[in-house]
Amino acid sequence: MKADDQKRLLREMIFFRRFEDRCFEAYMERKIGGFLHLYSGQEAVATGVMEMAKPGHDYVITGYRDHVHAIKSGAQPREVMAELYGKETGSSRGRGGSMHIFDPTVNFMGGYALVGQPFPLAAGLAMGCKHKGTDQIAICFLGDGANNQGTFHETMNMASVWKLPVLFVCENNQYAIGTHIDRSTAVVDQYKRVCGYNMEASQHDGMDIEEVMPAAKKAVDYVRSGKGPYFIEFMTYRFRGHSMSDAKGYRTKEEEAEWEKRDPIRIYSAKLREKGVVTDDEIKSWEKEIDNELENDIIKFAEESPEPRVEDLNKYVLDDNPDPRWIGPLVNEGV
């Protein structure tokens, strides 16, 4: 990988971290409501996997921890932030919020707040790709907690039987909300669970983007070549709580400190510094640029955008413009 690309990836990960940090602040200022699930700590996974796929071309779907996946797919950060602010300019026009970011212009098909629900939807997106005969694949990012839903098993089975072009990316951060995987899941290595469905699978470090990328490339290529689905597991950790209301009482300071040493941004920047690709000053200047962009473009856009009109409350429930032949009056109705 070229030095420029390496720098770009590191800068992207720093952007994602600071974007989420800024969301945290806006939530504390009560500018963002509802539930807010932040991605800090897991940046190497979405960044590395999407770098090996075709963002904007391949379909991407995920759960409620979805801001970074959307942006890496090509969604505009200012539209994602405006969505969190509930504004009409938001990526879901203020109707979705943090957990339901959608941007079909870049084939980001949504964040969903029912744990495990994206599995079948992803297989359906893949079925669509196969049906249309394109070279697109569907990528489904979900956590280890989702794997205990029935949809996991049902979908792995069908995706495998029908050889659907879908890549399941398990972001194993080891906690299902506040319950550790040891206490909820009989088979801790998630990639082993799909061997029952005759599916290719592998497990990798999710904190080092240089480990993520080659593994993801192999999986993406496998799926795109038409061989069927692939299940890839990345071991990772979320630095913040499950959501903003989570005080993280279920894990120790020692455990957190251990994982903090494995911060994907810290690891990658150290590697790039060592190779002489990037300097501390350069990183500092990026941080300034990013903070400036966040404040003067992204937050400003969200703050200044209009809210949806209350007259539009019922908009988007059904098709606004259906064919009158199907919806129109019955011709033979009596009086």
């Binding site: 379909y59 779907i61 938001g90 990526s91 879901s92 026009r93 203020g94 109707r95 979705g96 339901h100 959608f102 941007d103 079909p104 098909m109 949504g110 969903y112 029912l114 629900q117 599995f119 079948p120 939807l121 992803a122 297989a123 359906g124 997106l125 893949a126 079925m127 669509g128 790709c129 049906h131 249309k132 569907a138 029935g150 949809t151 049902e154 979908t155 089975n157 069908m158 039987v161 029908w162 908009k315 988007y316 429930v317 059904l318 098709d319 606004d320 259906p322 064919d323 032949r325 199907w326 919806i327 129109g328 009056p329 019955l330 033979n332 109705e333 009596g334």
Partner: protein, 326 residues
């Protein structure tokens, strides 16, 4: 015109829509090689192949979800759920995904998905194969819910549903698949909205949907022998509901009975009575009556089963009560 059975009408609509648009696919349990439990897809596997007439495993929630995912990217799936009881397993994807994706994406993503499922009590299928969940879908924003009462609507509404950009739930009925009716040979579409007067009358309005329309028609025959002119209104669509048609008919007859196979608490009838009292209370000359199923799981025993669900006599008695004749 040709006399066509309900199942044949559905099969013909599948066939024509699949021939018209290769994005139309069918999926469900046993619908391919086996031709469908109710023959609604008979012969289509041979004609369109395994990629378009898809036999699914018994995994209702996820194969419905796969249909939803495919519909989001331009495919137009017709998903068959063999019994509405099994649709309970798929309520997550139907109610939490299909119905909400357009809204929660701000209108940017849609699910042009059709779900066909028979809902109702047949012959001694017992509690777990006799559910009627019309009320559950009726109360979900973002769905269209239609209930074709005969082959004409079964054909024309399925064709409209396939081309509609909203998720449409079509509630059929086990006892209707062999029901016959003349339908035109040339292609036609039937609206997905709007109630229909299937028998004109002046003394009382009998409201039904799906199979219950036939109970209303039977009751109207009996009432005619008593010199009572009953109007029969088929709701056709439970969502959206044609409140205007209900109001117009009640303002004409001043009496109303709703027949439903759902249980009474929170059934379709509860919504209809509420609609009538809200929209045309002062047009009523008597208390509205709902004829509904008993609030019990449907029993296996034939005698008990008959007692648990409404029949023509129940609707007839309901009408007499409304009219103050008993």
């Amino acid at each position: 015109m040709a006399e066509t059975a309900y199942w044949e009408a559905i099969r013909r609509a599948h066939d024509e829509e699949m021939a018209n648009d290769k994005m139309v696919i069918a999926m469900g349990e046993d619908i391919g090689v086996a031709g469908g439990t109710y023959k609604a897809t008979l012969g289509l596997f041979d004609k369109y192949g395994a990629e378009r007439v898809i036999d699914t495993p018994i995994s209702e929630n996820s194969y419905t979800g796969i249909g939803i995912g495919a519909s989001m990217v331009g495919v137009r799936p017709i998903v068959e759920i063999m019994s509405i009881n099994f649709a309970l397993l798929a309520l997550d994807t139907i109610i939490n995904a299909a119905a909400k994706i357009r809204y929660m994406s701000g209108g940017r993503v849609q699910c042009p998905l059709v779900i066909r499922t028979p809902g109702g009590t047949a012959h001694q299928l017992a509690a777990q194969h006799s559910a009627r969940l019309a009320r559950m879908f009726m109360s979900t924003a973002g769905l269209r819910v239609v209930t074709p009462r005969g082959p004409l609507d079964a054909y024309g509404m399925l064709k409209s549903a396939v081309r509609c950009n909203d998720p449409v739930v079509i509630i059929e009925h086990e006892r209707m698949y062999n029901m016959k009716e003349d339908i035109p040979d040339e292609e036609f579409f039937r609206p997905l909205e709007g109630a229909e007067i299937v028998r004109h009358g002046t003394d009382i309005t009998l409201i039904g949907y799906n199979y219950n329309v036939h109970l209303c028609l039977g009751a109207a025959e009996k009432l005619a022998k008593d010199g009572i002119s009953a109007e029969v209104l088929d709701l056709r669509s439970l969502k959206p509901l044609d409140r205007e048609a209900i109001r117009r008919s009640v303002e004409k007859t001043h009496h109303v009975v709703i027949a439903e196979e759902d249980e009474a608490p929170v059934g379709v009838g509860a919504e209809i009575i509420a609609t009538v009292t809200e929209d045309c209370f002062y047009a009523l000359d008597a208390q509205p009556i709902r004829v509904h199923a008993a609030d019990v799981p449907v029993p296996y025993n034939a005698k008990l089963e008959k007692e648990a669900i409404p029949d023509v006599e129940d609707v007839y008695q309901g009408a007499l009560k409304c009219l103050g004749r008993i």
